[in-house]
């Protein structure tokens, strides 16, 4: 019988005790693995957030945003100025267009309605006709908004609002990103290739394409020009999917406004530099020419919350790991004390200290192996729940802290009074999925075994101090 076989046999010598030890170890190891899984999941999410929108600044014309407000449009020269600001890594210009269904626009014009050309005053040049039909029905909100616009129409005459069709938003982009700077998630087809040249390709939202029976390769018209669907994207919202993307020069050409930009999406090289870059960018562009905002400012809080969760989960992982090591240490010390006489026997018949020590280390590892199997099963079921619990408790704390800090202060940009200050970030927080991947579990179990070896070494070394005369104890 080898040392290993003897160790396995010894591990099962007292089955009730073995079961109890394995159960306790499984809890500690399961907790350690669950914390590691949560830590890895949160770390991944933090990296994802930092890499996507956490470092993005949005530049709008001073006093204007989208199709609202006023002021002077942004220019290509301002984009070059923004690109020269320290810590700015990229500047992507966009040009927004409103596409109105040609047939609906003709009906509106015949009825003297406000939605056609001239209906938006200064924005008229960015409203063009298309063969596309919006994927969103006007509904109560669209009709109401249309009625409200009707009172200020170019005709100057308040009229009863006719049947209304919601416009489609077309955005010219200088890179394959959406209006928040996040990479487009193409579900079919390809991108538009070079976004700095005029192209007849377009990327359509999935519901817009479905509404118009379009697939990759289909064609449609904008301002009587034919465009081919190069790809479909999923923005994740009904509003976002009622849109299409063109290359920036294409949109500028359609609007007959070359060099003009609706917004600039500025990406800063790191989250830490966002505030400084924002200040420098505002100074470089001038407060009278551009409004610089951190559209996803609340993500900083989100990332900070996730960072806390990451730290907590790592500390808990280390604590659970240390607990597992301590359990092994205490159990093995107990076993060594209990088997003093047996160790004396082994020494009396010529067993070297290293063989006896190795036997106890292997016995500890057998117990840890059993605990790891059960613990991994526990972790695979519990890690999601533990991660969610950690994230929700930290999100709640961050929410309370943020709201308390903002009492009497200015409102959150784009937010509503009393709304969750984390805004969309809380959705990002809850979207962290902690799945127990084999790699993470393997890494965790390796760490557990490392700690177990350290925990078992102390009692194993204790066996070396036991003298063979112990064999005569009680004789």
């Amino acid at each position: 019988m080898s040392v290993l076989a003897r160790s396995i046999g010894n591990a099962f010598r007292n089955k009730v005790r073995t079961a109890a030890v394995v159960a306790v170890l499984a809890v500690a190891i399961g907790l350690a693995l669950a914390m590691l899984v949560a830590n890895q999941a949160v770390a991944g999410k933090v990296a994802e957030l930092n890499a996507s929108v956490g470092t993005v600044l949005t530049v709008n014309p001073a006093g204007g945003q989208g199709f609202e407000g006023g002021g002077e449009p942004l220019t290509a020269e301002q984009a070059a100025t923004a690109a020269a600001v320290p810590d700015v890594s990229t500047v992507v210009g966009t040009k927004a267009l409103r596409l109105r269904n040609a047939a609906a626009a003709a009906v509106d014009a015949g009825a003297g309605g406000p939605g056609g050309q001239g209906g938006q005053g200064s924005q008229s040049a960015t409203t063009v006709t298309t063969s596309l039909t919006a994927a969103v029905d006007a509904g109560t909100l669209g009709t109401r908004n249309q009625a409200a616009e009707g009172t200020t129409g170019a005709t100057g005459t308040a009229t009863a609002a006719p049947a209304f069709s919601v416009p489609v938003t077309a955005t010219g982009i200088g890179a394959e990103v959406d209006t928040t700077g996040k990479a487009l998630e193409l579900t079919q087809g390809t991108g538009l290739g070079d976004y700095t040249v005029v192209s007849t390709g377009a990327l359509l939202g999935t519901t817009l394409a479905e509404k118009n029976d379009l697939t990759v390769g289909s064609t449609f018209t904008v301002k009587d020009q034919s465009f081919t669907v190069a790809g479909l994207f999923d923005a994740g919202t009904a509003f976002g999917n009622n849109a299409l993307y063109l290359t920036l020069p294409t949109a500028q050409t359609l609007a007959e406004l070359p060099g003009e930009l609706s917004t600039m999406i500025v990406t800063v090289n790191s989250l830490e530099n966002v505030d400084a870059a924002k200040t420098a960018l505002q100074a470089a562009l001038g407060t009278d020419a551009a409004d610089v905002s951190q559209g996803e400012r609340n993500l900083e809080t989100a990332v900070s919350s996730l960072g806390s969760v990451k730290n907590i989960s790592f500390i808990a992982f280390v604590a659970a790991l240390a607990t597992a090591g301590l359990i092994i240490l205490l159990i093995m010390v107990m076993l060594v004390r209990e088997r003093r006489r047996e160790i004396g026997v082994l020494k009396a018949i010529g067993a070297p200290n290293r063989t006896i020590g190795l036997q106890f280390v292997l016995e500890a590892l057998v117990l840890v192996a059993l605990g790891s199997v059960v613990g991994a099963a526990v972790a695979s079921f519990a890690s999601g729940g533990i991660a969610s619990a950690l994230i929700s408790s930290n999100t709640a704390t961050a929410t309370v802290t943020t709201m308390a800090g903002q009492r009497g202060g200015p409102g959150i940009p784009g937010g509503m009074p009393g709304a969750n200050p984390l805004g969309g970030a809380s959705q990002l927080l809850t979207s962290v999925t902690a799945s127990a991947s084999p790699g993470v579990i393997a890494a965790g179990i390796t760490a557990v075994f490392g700690v177990a070896v350290i925990g078992a070494l102390v009692p194993a070394l204790l066996t070396a101090r036991i003298r063979p005369i112990e064999v005569l104890r009680g004789e």
């Binding site: 019988m1 080898s2 004396g344 020494k347 009396a348 018949i349 010529g350 070297p352 005369i469 005569l472």
Partner: protein
């Protein structure tokens, strides 16, 4: 050859100093079958533990083939116990969760003997001590006291030691098996030139040994030696 020189072992018990072994000296030629008799607590087991390097003497020395045990480091003493000594303990001291054959294989495993060879030797030894072959694979805690005693003797013989130290080797055996064990020990000393020192209460066993010692209050005296033939030991 084993030579004991002025061996002393003292223990402290409160303010008192106990001397279970007090200035013991004797010499045994290789192949001698010797016995030590004495009352309980007379220091017999302590003397055996000193001879077997389980314990260190307070003073004096034990020389095995001219080599002093007092000068050996722990590693060498372990090697000495593994290679040169076979113990038969009064309470057997077998490993309870191992089988009879596994217990006998243990000293051979520590000596680095291959598994197949040690299994064969273990079975052979268990047959020599007349343990039913059906019980070779049985766990120790499922064997009777007499069967465990036989396994303990087989284990002591495993590495063919030069010196066997046996504490009441026939104490738990019936008369017939006891006789067989005495015969086995006698043949080992005679045919294999093994020195055997037996601690016993059994006068009949003591009378069958080449040399007979009495330990009284830590002091060893030799009783008249007898020839085995005269003692009626198996020839």
């Amino acid at each position: 050859m084993i030579e004991v020189k002025n061996l002393v072992r003292t223990f402290k018990s409160g303010d008192r100093t106990i001397k279970p072994v007090n200035d013991v000296s004797f010499m045994l030629e290789q192949g001698t079958l010797a016995s030590i008799v004495g009352k309980s607590g007379s220091g017999k087991s302590t003397l055996l533990s000193l001879l077997g390097a389980l314990d260190k003497p307070t003073s004096g020395d034990v020389l095995v083939n001219g080599v002093s045990l007092a000068g050996l480091p722990d590693g060498k003493l372990t090697e000495y116990r593994r290679r040169d000594i076979g113990f038969v303990f009064q309470q057997f001291n077998l490993i309870p969760n191992l089988s009879a054959v596994d217990n006998v294989m243990l000293p051979m495993e520590f000596a680095g003997i291959r598994k197949a060879a040690r299994l064969e030797r273990a079975r052979e030894l268990l047959e020599q001590v007349q343990l039913d072959p059906d019980k070779h694979g049985r766990r120790i805690n499922r064997l009777s006291g007499g069967e465990q005693q036989r396994v303990a003797i087989a284990r002591a013989l495993a590495n063919s030691p030069k010196l066997i130290l046996a504490d009441e080797p026939t104490g738990n055996l019936d008369e017939q098996t006891g006789e067989h064990i005495i015969e086995l020990l006698s043949s080992l000393s005679r045919d294999h030139n093994t020195t055997i020192l037996v601690v016993t209460h059994d006068r009949s066993l003591a009378n069958k040994t080449d040399r007979r010692f009495r330990l009284q209050q830590g002091r060893l005296t030799e009783e008249a030696a007898r020839s085995r033939a005269a003692a009626g030991a198996p020839a």
